[in-house]
């Protein structure tokens, strides 16, 4: 134990640890600022939100020690169990769950609200790595592809009805892991086509999508080399499928979506052509985004300074200490601050890609990709939403947003991988 303890500290990727500490520290500073009031200036008051977050930062530190202390193969060995337990916890929510802000996503543990979907993220990443690295799994086989996808989708389907579509979306990101391991790229192509046709249909309507696609097809048939044989019937079938999908998009958009979802898309894609109505939607459904964009904009190049953000102080951005924490960075630290945070995240993610690729052990590499996918999708969707390039989807910014269970599980997610990485040389012997 003493030897391995020494070696784990020696072999730990301290660069990643440094990036992690920077993000947590900057995150906490901004939580402090966005929950700061003049009558409650004490930093170590655990009744305040920033005080609580400080407590969870301490708890995360403890969990890091435990994670690093445990045997590296513990995680691989028990990954299936973790997965089953987290599925059970997700199912249990339907009976014992605690409802906060309309979503039944928590267990009330008295001192602490546990969010099993956070646990499920770690567990699913482990389980997927375990399954894919299994000697009997061949990702070229369609059956194995389906099983891998099912591992991802199962927890997602349990989370959607909470309802927490944001968290469910995170699981889809794990598809990157399967791609890395050899899932044919046309899956990605299909996924991309689905999103593209969805957006194009909303913007231009089914008829135009059909006409343009038909014209492109005709153009292709005219210009192709005579030697190139086109399988006419499958092409026609695909074309019909796309048109049908496009029609179903209209149906889903108009009949399945609720008005607030429609409004989010109207705002994002500027579907509403009447500027007055668009402004109404912006004020109403887009209020958060509008306020956070304005707060970020008002920070300018260098920001207004720590605790000087007027819009932060005036609580103009709702949920600023959780999902919209990045707007505090924008207002108080300006472009310098926001660019730093984006660079820190980019560096951390690329570092993790580098670490994953150097793993000799398949399980470690695949888990590493799981970690990257999960962190990346949080970072991408959260900041994209806060700066107004993506529609509103409520998921937190890793290491940054206020929330105990979030911070704990993001920490665990990362440090399990760092432990595996530190252990990689032992595997050889």
């Amino acid at each position: 134990m003493s030897v391995s303890g020494k070696s784990v500290l020696k072999r730990l990727d301290w660069f990643s640890v440094l990036l992690y500490i920077s993000l947590v520290f900057i995150g906490w500073i901004n939580i402090y600022s966005s929950t700061f009031t003049d009558n409650n200036p004490s930093i170590f008051n655990f009744a305040t939100l920033h005080g609580k977050q400080l407590f969870f930062i301490g708890a995360s530190g403890m969990s890091i020690i435990i994670i690093l202390a445990l045997e590296a193969n513990f995680y691989e060995r028990f990954s299936s169990l973790f997965y089953i337990v987290s599925l059970a916890l997700l199912i249990g929510l339907f009976v014992f769950g605690k409802t906060i802000a309309g979503a039944t996503s928590w267990y009330d543990l008295g001192f602490f609200n546990l969010q099993p979907s956070e646990l499920a993220k770690v567990a699913t990443a482990l389980a997927l790595a375990k399954y894919l690295s299994d000697i009997q799994t061949d990702i070229k086989r369609q059956k194995d592809q389906m099983i891998a996808i099912m591992i991802i989708l199962l927890p997602a389907f349990l989370i959607i009805p909470q309802p927490d579509p944001g968290s469910a979306l995170v699981f889809f990101a794990l598809i990157f892991v399967i791609f890395r391991e050899g899932l044919p790229l046309y899956y990605l192509g299909i996924g991309f086509m689905v999103i593209l046709i969805f957006i194009l249909t909303l913007m231009f309507g089914t008829i135009w999508v059909g006409i343009i696609l038909g014209l492109l097809l005709a153009l292709f048939l005219l210009l192709k080399k005579p030697s190139f044989k086109v399988p006419i019937i499958p092409v026609i079938l695909i074309y019909v499928a796309i048109v049908l999908f496009s029609l179903s998009v209209n149906f889903v958009f108009n009949n399945v979506f609720e008005q607030r979802h429609r409004d989010r898309f109207s705002l994002w894609l500027r579907l509403e052509k009447d500027p007055k109505k668009l402004e109404d939607i912006r004020r109403d459904i887009g209020y958060n985004t509008y306020q956070s964009e304005k707060a970020i904009e008002s920070g300018g190049k260098y920001g207004k300074g720590f605790l000087e953000g007027t819009r932060t102080k005036g609580n103009f951005v709702p949920e600023q200490h959780t999902d919209y924490i990045f707007s505090t960075v924008g207002e108080e630290w300006g472009f310098v601050g926001t660019a730093t945070v984006v660079l820190l995240f980019t560096t951390l993610l690329l570092r993790l890609v580098y670490l994953s690729e150097r793993q000799k052990n398949d399980f470690s590499r695949m888990y590493g990709y799981g970690v990257i996918s999960i962190l990346f999708v949080h970072y991408f969707i959260n900041i994209g939403m806060v700066i107004g390039v993506l529609p509103t989807i409520g998921i937190p910014l890793p290491f940054f947003s206020y929330g105990g269970s979030g911070l704990l599980f993001f920490t665990a997610l990362l440090f399990i991988f760092l432990k595996l990485d530190a252990n990689r040389l032992n595997e050889l012997t």
Binding site: D38, F176, F179, R180, G182, L185, E293, I296, E297, S298, G299, G300, K301, E308, T310, R311, K313, G314, N315, F316, G330, G334, F335, T338, A339, V342, L343, F345, T346, L349, L350, V353, E357, Y369, I372, S373, F376, F380, I383, G384, I387, G388, V389
Partner: protein, 622 residues
């Protein structure tokens, strides 16, 4: 490919984010943050507007408090409406409608319920105000006038409009600014600078303390008090004399160009444009298109000068060597232009410069005028010289005085006549009317007074101006302290001044001399026309008079222009004489003369063109 897919996406997203952030924070960033920030409210502390004093330190304009009854609709508790309405002096319907208007504007923010209570109403209301929750009284500062004169020259202040707001960012909606007269001209000095307090607000618009602990806040800077060149006593006296007469009086101090009085008749009490009745009074004044009380005739009325202009023609003729003081012309109770005879009131006979002036002989000046032009090969060249001399007296151009409005008048030139008659198809005979101040030449009363000051100074003048001191400190503006020299040599003035002095001794104003004061003056009786239903109709002559006194070392130069007052020696001459006496002696010895001027009005004369009946002009009796 599989290995770099995720890395590429991560990099791409990073670049996209940085791009979007630089768009937001660098390109969209507006430096005016503090005013656009909904989280910061600027609360202004208005400085008191500067007082205005006359040349002797007598107060003209000050400030008075006014009291607005304010309401915050959300905080209003049930109340005894009837009692409250009685206290405010409004009826119940008005109260209810004002209250609902305020509620529509904002339930949370204060609105004005009743504007500008008088001091007395405020006194009664103040003690009982506590009982009516949601209402309070807010003090404002309004202009207070310590005189009922000078409305046009002092000017008024009014709320800034959209246009001002766009052009000048230092104004905010609802603020007051000088709109006319001195208030407008010296707005920046009088206004001071408002102080500002920045208050941090939350999204419910509640105060949560000072912004940046008040480090950016500023204290208001009081408006500066100014002393103007007007003589309050003279201004008030002149306006009293103008009762019932239309026209302008301008009195200058020749040695400095300071404006002693700037009177336009009819005028109004400046207090009318202050307080609760302001807008009602304003429309009444603004829509009075017959007497036009807001039209400042002293600087805007551009009209034929009449005979006072003869003095300038005499000076030009002397300067150009066309005449000497001894040159004579014969008056046949008029003179001939071709075969047409133009009349003259002087009585006929041989006239030299001296008698030409004091008897105001038309024939003499027509002769002198022709002689100027005859010296040059073409009329156009004569015209150039004549125009140059006239303009050196400040005619035909904006004088450059410090008031916001004015007219340039008109000194015709060769281009002007070429346009009317065709190139060079005119001669001194064509334009002979200008010799006696009729015809195409036009001046404003202030130009007339300035021209008189130039004669009084024997050849130079100082640009007329109204500002004397700022905060007790005499101004030093070269534009006003530098003498402007006319193009006439000093030696030519003496004979003309002599002629003007004779006007009072044995000439057209012989009955208007003042004991102990030697005055030089010149009468003018000006033909004028109007259009009634499109028909050019002659009205009773305008009565004009210019004078300065004492003849040596003059203290005052004055021009009086009374519309349709007939002979120059009548209204204008009387008023000029009284004004000079009042200014130099401080009192009036000729009580009968004064009484006559105070009582006589020209209302009947002004009603004639509107009567719809044929009417007589230039009636003998008065």
């Amino acid at each position: 490919m599989r290995k770099i897919l995720l890395s590429s996406i991560i990099l791409l997203v990073g670049i996209t984010f940085i791009g979007r952030l630089s768009y937001l924070q660098i390109f969209s960033f507006s430096p005016n943050q503090i005013l656009e920030d909904p989280a910061i409210k600027a609360v202004y502390d208005y400085p008191e507007r500067g007082y205005i004093y006359d040349r002797n330190g007598k107060l003209l304009v000050a400030n008075q408090p006014a009291y607005d009854v304010m309401v915050i609709p959300r905080e209003v508790k049930p109340l005894d409406t009837l009692e409250f309405c009685n206290l405010l002096g409004i009826d119940k319907e008005r109260f209810i409608s004002q209250l609902s208007k305020a509620r529509v504007y904002s339930p949370r923010l204060p609105s004005v319920l009743v504007p500008q209570l008088s001091k007395e109403d405020y006194g009664r209301l103040q003690e009982k105000m506590r009982r009516f929750e949601g209402f309070y009284i807010q003090k404002r500062s309004l202009r207070y006038y310590d005189t009922s004169s000078g409305a046009n020259v002092l000017g008024y202040i009014s709320e800034v409009n959209e246009w001002d707001l766009e052009r000048n960012p230092s104004y905010a909606a609802g603020e007051l600014k000088g709109t006319t007269g001195i208030e407008k001209e010296y707005e920046t000095i009088l206004r001071g600078r408002k102080g500002v307090k920045y208050i941090q607000k939350d999204r419910f618009n509640r105060d949560i303390g000072p912004y940046k602990s008040g480090t950016l806040d500023t204290l208001p800077e009081q408006g500066k008090q100014i002393t103007v060149t007007l003589d309050k006593m003279l201004q008030e006296y002149g306006e009293k004399l103008m009762t019932g007469k239309h026209g302008g009086i301008v009195a200058l101090e020749p040695a400095s160009g300071e404006i002693l009085a700037l009177i336009s008749g009819p005028t109004y009490d400046p207090a009318l444009l202050v307080g609760r009745e302001r807008s009602k009074n304003y429309s009444k004044l603004h829509y009075d298109t017959i007497s036009k009380p807001t039209y400042d005739r002293s600087i805007l009325a551009s009209q034929s000068p009449g005979s006072p202009f003869k003095t300038l023609n005499a000076l030009v003729a002397l300067q150009e060597g066309a005449i000497t003081p001894e040159t004579t012309f014969h008056c046949y109770n008029g003179f001939y232009v071709g075969r047409r005879k133009r009349g003259c009131h002087c009585g006929g006979g041989t006239r030299n410069l001296n008698s030409g002036i004091y008897l105001s002989c038309n024939a003499y000046f027509a002769g002198a005028f022709r002689k100027i032009y005859d010296q040059f090969p073409t009329s156009a060249e004569g015209m150039d010289v004549w125009e140059k001399h006239m303009k050196s007296f400040g005619l035909g151009t904006f004088l450059g005085y410090d008031l916001p409005t004015g007219r340039p008048g008109r000194i015709p030139n060769k281009e002007y006549y070429n346009r009317i008659y065709g190139d060079n198809r005119w001669s001194s005979s064509t334009i002979i009317s200008n010799s006696i101040g009729q015809g195409e030449v036009e001046v404003t009363p202030i130009q007339l007074a300035n021209m008189t000051a130039a004669i009084a100074n024997r050849g130079h003048f100082f640009t007329p101006h109204i500002l004397k001191k700022i905060e007790g400190e005499a101004i030093n503006i070269t534009e006003f302290t530098e003498a402007k020299h006319t193009t006439i040599d000093k030696k030519h003035f003496e004979p003309v001044v002599q002629g003007m002095a004779e006007v009072y001794k044995k000439g057209t104003a012989a009955r208007l001399q003042i004991e102990g004061i030697e005055i030089a003056g010149k009468t003018g009786t000006v033909e004028n026309f109007t259009r009634i239903n499109g028909v050019r109709t002659q009205l009773t002559d305008n009565s004009v008079f210019v004078a300065f006194a004492p003849v040596d070392n003059p203290k005052i130069a004055i021009a009086v222009y009374i519309e349709n007052g007939y002979f120059g020696s009548r209204y204008a001459g009387h008023i000029a004489s009284l004004m000079i006496e009042k200014y130099l002696k401080g009192e009036i010895t000729r009580v009968d003369l004064e009484k006559k001027m105070l009582e006589k009005t020209l209302e009947e004369e002004y009603a004639k063109p509107y009567s719809g009946q044929p009417f007589k002009i230039n009636e003998r009796v008065w």
